[in-house]
């Protein structure tokens, strides 16, 4: 960028970091509450609480440093250049506004793991309540609040758990770029996540919200101020989704290295690409719906109040127009991870690369045409049911294609059963069960019977935890050596996999059975005849939580106690991110890489190295 001379060198002099952000957020909250109380149209405090959260978030972002750039522009001062990564070393960079995509990826990773801990503790509390068939451990009202907090926290996490850490860290490396297209937007997509989590957790001070993650009116209109936490927290996640999507898409479209044609793009990048399209187009609809809900709660409009010209179906339509693509926002990057990792350890080219890309796009497109299957039991017009049933069933075709591509790659391969590969196998097993049970739920008669039961709950946990979280673990064991410079212990990793795989299936498979036996979800009391199965599930869930603790222990043990340095390319992989040194240099590549071959040309005689890197590390040939 051309930096003109003779411009004001004035700068905002506040030290920008997370501490300043927190210190500013506290008075920001009270200022918002005061203003809301002063000008609010009602006396129920909703305006004050919402403005408090908004002001606190803006103040936090200002403290971190996000207002510097717009204010410098507005005051006519010299605009700060994008931070030079070379000047941004040390642990402190993780607590500041960094524009380095690698720092942002690691910030995301740690934040998401902390949030996962809290979401997991919520799950353990839910399962503990279900040790007895009545509400003696957790009263009904508290139980539904617990469900709401657990579910929304997990939705926040799973929206970003792959794109945040791995998408941000790896996409520029995989496409041969030195940076993201919009580093400030990228950083913003991260820094709104911690306030979203804190604001959501603040709902506990108001007694929790009773709606679960779907926020259906009229319950959400009547709920206490805890519902305001849901609104503002979710709105911040919508902001994160849109900003992240714009940045990712612009980066992939505009910053690919020479020779990185669309047909050489790593399949993981395609997964991020399709996910970003979903986030870009679906999240704004959620933002609009949340704005309507805010107006209903603060100014007494009646978007969702049927007695006054509104309709609760309006919310259900808008929410699920976002909500169903949202579940593919979870799973498309997971598909990308599996299709990315499998060829490296099968030592074979990805079978049907273009077909796999078509599968990703097929899932992405169809996901916009299925949302009303969530309304089958809400009383939608019966004439609409067949279309949405068929469109939902159709999604199994591109999903099946993705499975076919993965299995075709494994066919007759001499597989290296490393820890990441084990998790890929676990993903295939779990997601198959989750996917097939989803086909049953897309069928109207079955859905009408099972929708409110634990069958539905088991289905989506098989897809999200059995799918996305297993893919997350595969990605962690595969890419963390590159991201952190330390190898994770493979022995603990294998124990972790088998422990998690067995505990996961032991937890969630019986829930299909209790669902078929009509145990309703979101209710703390159930038929005493089901107490045995429920106790089995609860004990299994404790073991499942234990497996996650083991993962955390592996991270701590491998990073701080053993600290075995990772090689630049410990898996002998071909893709571009493995061709740079470990730790990754501040500017990724010394000079522009010239990509000359695809990333999956394993076992091909005389395969060319993937790129000419100017003698940096040297690209691996076909292995």
């Amino acid at each position: 960028m051309v930096v003109p001379e003779h411009v004001s060198e004035r700068r905002l002099s506040i030290p920008n970091n997370a501490i300043t952000g927190i210190l500013l957020a506290i008075p920001g909250y009270f200022a918002g509450v005061w203003l809301g109380t002063l000008f609010g149209l009602n006396d129920d405090q909703n305006t004050g609480v919402i403005l408090g959260y908004v002001f606190a978030t803006v103040a936090f972002l200002a403290g971190v440093g996000f207002l510097n750039y717009p204010l410098e522009r507005l005051f006519g001062w010299r605009v700060s250049p994008l931070t030079d990564p070379d000047e941004n070393r040390g642990v402190g960079r993780f607590f500041r506004l960094s524009l380095d995509h690698k720092v942002i990826g690691l910030q995301y990773l740690v934040t998401i793991l902390i949030m996962l801990l809290f979401g997991g503790i919520g799950a353990m509390m839910i399962r503990t309540s279900l040790l007895v068939p009545d509400s003696s451990i957790t009263p009904s009202g508290n139980y539904i609040s617990l469900i709401g907090l657990h579910s929304v926290m997990m939705i926040f996490i799973t929206s970003a758990v792959i794109v945040g850490p791995f998408g941000n860290y790896l996409v520029p490396l995989m496409i041969g770029a030195r940076r993201m297209a919009f580093p400030r937007l990228e950083a913003l997509s991260f820094w709104v996540v911690p306030p979203a989590a804190v604001i959501l957790a603040a709902a506990t001070f108001w007694g929790g919200f009773p709606t679960g993650w779907t926020g259906y009116p009229p319950l959400s209109e009547q709920a206490s101020q805890a519902m305001d936490s849901y609104i503002v927290g979710f709105a911040l996640i919508a902001v994160a989704l849109v900003t992240s999507a714009i940045n990712m898409l612009a980066t992939i479209i505009g910053l690919r290295a020479p020779g990185m044609t669309w047909t050489r793009l790593p399949i993981f990048v395609w997964g991020i690409f399709t996910t970003s399209i979903l986030g870009l187009l679906a999240a704004p609809v959620l933002a609009a719906a949340l704005f309507m809900l805010t107006l209903d709660r603060t100014t007494q409009t009646s978007f969702f109040l049927a007695s006054n010209g509104g309709s609760n179906y309006l919310w259900e339509n808008l929410f699920w127009f976002f909500g169903h693509p949202e579940v593919y926002i979870f799973i498309l990057p997971a598909f990308g991870i599996i299709m990315e990792i499998v060829p490296h350890f099968a030592r074979k080219p990805l079978w049907g690369y273009r077909t796999g890309v078509v599968g990703l796009f097929g899932v992405m497109l169809l996901s916009f045409f299925v949302w009303q299957h969530h309304l089958f039991v809400s009383g939608i017009a019966p004439v609409l049911r067949p279309f949405y049933m068929l469109s939902t069933e159709l999604i199994s075709i591109p999903t099946g294609i993705i499975f076919l591509v993965t299995l075709g790659t494994l066919w007759r391969a001499r597989v290296w059963f490393t820890v990441p590969m084990l998790f890929c196998m676990g993903f295939l097993f779990n997601f198959l069960i989750g996917g097939v049970s989803g086909v049953y739920l897309s069928d109207v008669p079955t859905d009408v019977t099972l929708h409110g039961s634990y069958f539905s709950m088991a289905h989506f946990h098989y897809t999200i935890m059995g799918g996305e979280i297993f893919a997350l673990m595969a990605a962690a064991y595969y890419w963390l050596p590159k991201m952190t410079g330390k190898m994770l212990s493979p022995t603990i990793g294998r124990i972790h996999f088998w422990w998690m795989f067995i505990a996961f299936n032991s937890t969630f498979f019986p829930l299909f059975i209790v669902g078929l036996l009509n145990m309703p979800r979101r209710v703390s009391s159930y038929d005493p005849a089901l107490v045995g199965l429920n106790r089995w599930v609860t004990v299994s869930a404790y073991f499942l939580f234990g497996s996650m603790v083991l993962f955390a222990a592996n991270l701590i043990y491998s990073w701080f106690f053993v600290a075995r340095p990772a090689l630049a390319n410990p898996w002998h992989a071909r893709s571009l991110e493995w061709q740079v040194p470990t730790p990754v240099p501040a500017r990724n590549f010394e000079r522009v890489p010239l990509v000359v071959a695809g990333p999956y040309d394993y076992g091909i005689p005389n395969a060319r190295p993937v790129a000419d890197l100017g003698g940096m590390v040297g690209a691996t040939g076909g292995g």
């Binding site: 960028m1 507005l74 999507a245 187009l281 309507m292 100014t299 006054n308 010209g309």
Partner: protein
């Protein structure tokens, strides 16, 4: 591709071309997101109007505010967008840019003020049914976005001095015209729906 290669080699001209390209891509992506945002409001409009639950889409005596006043807001928004569009074209000289962008800023501020005044004096209560809800919500969402765009426009004006960022990055700055044109176009759709179709 050559542009990207040279940009990587720290060629200033190529870097500027890349900057322009990325800002252009980002602008169109942001507009795609915004289309879906406003589509949600338009869906709400048609959905609630068609349902007319409890015969309460519009209560007795509730109707659109003054069409003339709404037209003034719309014309101001269009003028803002057109003024900036004409001033920011690459073919326009720096003089024209420096002349028209402050004009656009004044028009943008006037748009926000007029729309804000209308929202404060609607002539019906927000609790008077579905139509008042949609009117207030859609107009508020639109004017908030227009206000933010005007704030960005202000930063473009303050950076339009001889050594400002705007002049150094004229071509990326021209992409912003599409945001204003989009908001003006959205204003036309909103006006048609809220004042005539309702």
């Amino acid at each position: 591709m050559a542009v990207r290669t040279r940009a990587y080699e720290a060629d200033a001209a190529a870097e500027a071309a890349l900057d322009t390209r990325l800002v252009g891509i980002g602008t169109w992506l942001a507009l795609a997101a915004d289309i879906f945002f406003f589509a949600a409001w338009w869906f709400a409009f048609f959905y609630l109007r068609a349902l007319n639950n409890n015969q309460a889409w519009k209560a007795q005596g509730v109707g659109p505010p003054s069409k003339g006043y709404g037209a003034v807001v719309l014309v101001l928004a269009l003028a803002t967008a057109v003024a900036y569009f004409l001033g920011s074209r690459p073919a326009s000289g720096t003089f024209l840019f420096r002349l028209l962008t402050p004009v656009a800023l004044v028009l943008g501020l006037a748009t926000c003020l007029f729309q804000g005044y209308e929202l404060w004096h609607l002539g019906f209560g927000l609790t008077d049914g579905g139509y008042p809800s949609v009117f207030a919500g859609l107009s508020s969402a639109w004017v908030i976005q227009f206000g933010l765009a005007t704030a960005w426009l202000a930063s473009i004006v303050t950076q339009a001095g001889p050594a400002g960022d705007t002049i150094a990055r004229r071509r990326p700055a021209s992409s912003f015209a599409w945001i204003l044109l989009f908001l003006a176009a959205t204003g036309i759709v909103n006006y048609f729906l809220l004042y005539f179709v309702a």
